[in-house]
């Protein structure tokens, strides 16, 4: 509990005062003073999100619009396709897609959501990467696009089986949204970009709203007794159970899409023989791995005991081996499973579900079993 001195001033989201008023415990995260939990604590917040609905402030994330200088939406999509392996040209207006910024080695610079909104694209990127991402976009896409940082907007997520009913009470049109649909509607008198997506494995919505209207919207949502505010602590346990990557832990510049078990993000059109094959950074590496496989792969891990196995723990093939064969990248406690869970990277000959390996925790080797991801079945509204 040593005091750190001379920490740089933390930034506040537009909802900071609300968090304090709601009794949140605030912690530094990606340069922001963010709620890690509210009064109920992480376990109750996690379970509440799976049982009813949780409201998350994710305004620290970066929101960026790409406006094509030509005025033609397809030109913004073609430009972005030079930086990501996803099919952006094929993304219909009102639809959203998950993709990655890749580097020349095929590694991940960031993971992001992209939606097509008529003639432009809207990107949501990780907080810790947002300045670098914006620089990357300006460096490579400025001739084709005007890059607009949507700085004066909050971003909130409403997640859980009751999310649709809660949001539909103030905006009935959201009932018609399908998973990964993203459209502008009016909420609390403000134009909001609402997508049916999230980071919990539950059905739900992510809402981009002008900063000045964010607290009024949150007050309206929290006025419904089925909604509880949820901090970053439960956000992490929820996404881990859903098998979703955390950038900086499970993904980094040295992990490729194939290694990260994200090959589904490499669109058919961008694969060898596709309509717009390659053309993104690291395409040679990524498409070769797609054809021939990668040496290692991200897997789910279930410790056999009760002790959590956390990110950074080395993994060993046998209990007494000297050299590790991989490492845990995210680990903790699966609240809905009432058991520890983790994700990590292992050589491809050790990734079959049921394979038993050993994680080193406090000098001891604990057995962990490779497990299917996700740990908890998703409940997205795909119909």
């Amino acid at each position: 509990m040593a005091q750190r001195d001379a920490a740089p001033a933390l930034r506040h989201t537009p909802l900071h005062a609300m968090h304090v008023r709601l009794g949140a415990r605030m912690v530094p995260f990606a340069g922001y003073d963010m709620p890690v939990q509210y009064r109920d604590g992480i376990i109750k917040e996690h379970l509440h999100t799976r049982a009813a609905a949780g409201l998350f402030d994710v305004s620290h994330m970066g929101q960026i619009a790409l406006h094509p200088r030509s005025g033609r939406g397809e030109d913004a999509a073609l430009a972005l396709e030079t930086l990501v392996p996803g099919d952006i040209v094929g993304l219909a207006s009102g639809r959203q897609r998950y993709t990655l910024f890749t580097n020349a080695a095929g590694g991940a610079l960031d993971d992001l959501m992209v939606s097509r909104q008529g003639d432009h694209l809207v990107l949501v990127v990780n907080a810790a990467c947002k300045e670098a991402d914006e620089t990357h976009l300006r460096e490579h896409l400025s001739s084709a696009c005007r890059i607009e940082r949507l700085a004066d907007r909050a971003l909130v997520a409403l997640q859980g089986p009751q999310a649709e009913a809660v949001l539909a009470a103030i905006a009935p049109e959201v009932r018609a949204f399908r998973f990964m649909e993203a459209r502008t509607i009016t909420l609390s008198g403000a134009a909001c970009l609402v997508s049916r997506s999230g980071y919990t494995g539950e059905d739900g919505f992510e809402i981009s709203i002008p900063a000045g209207s964010a607290e009024a919207l949150c007050d309206a949502l929290l006025g419904d007794r089925t909604v509880a505010p949820i901090g970053l602590g439960a956000r992490d346990t929820l996404r881990l159970e859903a098998g979703l990557c955390l950038y900086g832990a499970d993904l980094n510049p040295a992990t490729t899409p194939m290694e990260a078990a994200l090959e589904w993000t490499i669109a058919p059109a961008r694969r060898t023989g596709g309509l717009r094959a390659g053309g993104f950074p690291g395409a040679d590496v990524i498409l070769r791995q797609l054809a021939h496989g990668a040496a290692r792969r991200r897997v789910g891990l279930r410790p056999e005991g009760r002790a959590p196995v956390r990110g950074g723990a080395p993994l060993f093939r046998h209990e007494d081996d000297a050299a590790p064969i991989g490492a845990v990248t995210s680990g903790g406690f699966g609240v809905s499973l009432d058991a520890p869970i983790a994700m990590g990277y292992l050589p491809v000959d050790a990734v079959a579900p049921g394979t038993r390996v050993f994680a080193e925790v406090r000098g001891r080797r604990l057995p962990v079993v490779v497990s299917q991801l996700p740990f908890v079945a998703p409940r997205y509204k795909r119909h």
């Binding site: 604590g41 602590g233 002790a307 959590p308 406690f333 406090r362």
Partner: protein, 120 residues
């Protein structure tokens, strides 16, 4: 009477045996506990040595022996129900009992008032 360490353990002395746990401040800071690993009965520790581990959803924390001595009893209930430590850190959520080797070591610990100022 409770005595406290700067690392947020408490110890309650009864004769030559001390009952040890983590403070309300420590459980609050850690958040919901999900795992407790207790020492073995008979284990011997020097003052300040890591005696056992508590883990919350977010993090693991060492629990240090407030005084040197030998573990005489452990509270297995908190292994099955780690949340008891959150609910009752100085009561049902005690962790282990230790036979005090050198009572003079207790003199270096804080009383309730001094600890209260530390965590204010």
């Amino acid at each position: 009477m409770l005595k406290f360490t700067k690392d947020h353990e408490w110890i309650r002395i009864d004769g030559d045996v001390g009952t040890v746990g983590i403070t309300p401040f420590a459980q609050e800071k850690l958040g919901d506990l999900v795992f407790v690993e207790l020492p073995s009965v008979g284990a011997k520790f020097d003052q300040g040595a890591s005696a056992c581990t508590v883990e919350s959803v977010k993090a693991a924390a060492d629990v240090y022996a407030p005084v040197g001595g030998e573990v005489t009893e452990v509270n297995n209930r908190v292994v099955d129900e780690p949340g008891v430590v959150n609910a009752s850190p100085t009561g049902d959520g005690w962790l282990f009992k230790i036979k005090v080797r050198n009572a003079a070591e207790l003199d270096g610990l804080m009383d309730e008032q001094a600890y209260g100022l530390l965590v204010k």
